[in-house]
Symmetry: C2
Amino acid sequence: MDDAASPLDVEDLRARVRKALDAFLGGCTPALDGIGPETTLLGDAVVSLLSGGKRLRPAFCYWGWRAAGGPDCEEIVRAATALELVQGCALIHDDVMDGSDTRRGQPAVHRRFATLHRSEGWRGDPEAFGTGAAILAGDLCLTWADELLFASGLPMETLLAAKPVYDAMRTELMAGQYLDLLEQAVGGGSVPRAERVIRYKSARYTVERPLHLGAVLAGGPPEVVDALRAYGAPLGEAFQLRDDVLGVFGDPAETGKPAGDDLREGKQTVLVALTLERATPQDAATLRRLLGDPHLSTDGVRDLRQVIASSGALDRVEELIAERTGRAVSALAGSPVTDEARAVLAALAVAATERRG
Amino acid sequence: MDDAASPLDVEDLRARVRKALDAFLGGCTPALDGIGPETTLLGDAVVSLLSGGKRLRPAFCYWGWRAAGGPDCEEIVRAATALELVQGCALIHDDVMDGSDTRRGQPAVHRRFATLHRSEGWRGDPEAFGTGAAILAGDLCLTWADELLFASGLPMETLLAAKPVYDAMRTELMAGQYLDLLEQAVGGGSVPRAERVIRYKSARYTVERPLHLGAVLAGGPPEVVDALRAYGAPLGEAFQLRDDVLGVFGDPAETGKPAGDDLREGKQTVLVALTLERATPQDAATLRRLLGDPHLSTDGVRDLRQVIASSGALDRVEELIAERTGRAVSALAGSPVTDEARAVLAALAVAATERRG
């Protein structure tokens, strides 16, 4: 870490994002209440989901702004916080699509509403009710995201100049999620195809576009925007590669998801594709057979972890993470971003890729 | 109809909305193609769904603008067309929530992707794949809607002044849909509760807010906005009451949905609530027993139609439709809207409430 103040800055920003989110969502509840008091449960589910999280996307947006010379102010914190709401939509809808039970150590939103349905003894299928409510809660998040962006207090010309970046990010997110779904359906298995999924679903969406958005909001010159994107693209890939490792090897107490969840969901990650390339024929067959089995046991998870590690794929992914994180940090070396931003972005690169949850 | 030119205007506007939609969606496909050629199927599904439709929401938005003195121009047509994309999201997600098979005479989007999965012999559950793809296609529609609104070419101050109306409309739509889901789960049965659902899910969203949006985009004075909303609120209720009648008595060739679809879905409409209030105890028990049965036969639909009609509820709903449509048209009588707009809005009131599909 180049600068001792950086982790503090990151922590402090997280608290400010939380405050901006609470203030905004606090205003959404009365609007829902006016429509029907029962609908405030949708807002409560969003509040509860978004009370946690690493706030990485707002951090990248905020530091994209600062790197491009924007001054510290609450307006950019609010604009950056809009990305947490986009992420709220992504998480809620993703959990429906994957049939996930938990998120951030809590029941997934669709499970929460299914439980409500069951405990109230309502008519019809509790799961269908949960799915419906979660689709709507995600739609509300997506709606509220641009509401917060436009209510951030940033000058309107600035917001309008940055909207195409925001729009591209949303389309990349949705299309990337579709590619992810498709890879699981098709059976995937190739490294280039798995890399294409992470480029859009995560690299652009989580790192490159938030930085890009912040820099354009600050009116940064093209060379700053280019440097930030050159940092963001490989870092975003490294971020997702870490996520893929945690999806197999992560500790549930830190990830907030069951151990080996990605294996049960049959995620066609780079880690899986590399294992299929490198494992013995027998091990590769085991992986092909067990991957995507929703009832995979703890022993099955342990066996697949063994297959993945002994193939050398885990080490290779760790190398890729280190290589891409290095490439990201180097991209900033000679760039015209402020020294403070360079130091914090170096710290964020570590935070995004050395995390445990 | 007060003015012979009105139906032509309505028809002409429909063609212009179609053109604006085609131009916009035509630009979305290359963006998807750049992410991955397979993702263009999401765009194709949206194009196909939105090739049909009555274009009522854009019509109300456009005529809200004209009523407030806005000149005819392509900019307002494009802005109004954004509402078709919001509606695309609502339809796609609603069909997932209701498990509907068809929409506008075509397979629902989730069925379309489930069929693709099945015909390609992919891994996993075709229905889950269809649901996932449809959630993402709906999210893209919601994303693209405000993209089109902001790319309409209307002055930015105008768009920003109108955005709170657009935001309120989206929140009302999502919260109203939740109330609808909840009424089916709780079992509903009361007229005031059913009326609350249609107020938000349809009346505000389909008529009042589009008019409001158009009038605010035109910078209309408060008395024009108030008059339009006084027309829109009862007309929107009448629109939904007609929809409820068509959901039970409609001809599939005209509605694009199977006969009696609302009965199988267990929709707690005003029509159903009035029947429960007015039917003989035996008929009410039959309705309670069969409503929401997904396997309700053609004979079952015929029996329930008989129960609803003989209770007097159908006649009462027709009275309510006439009364509210009349109230809507009267609200314009002494209002400061242009004569041309008044004539077209009178024609639209008829189109929205006397339709067969």
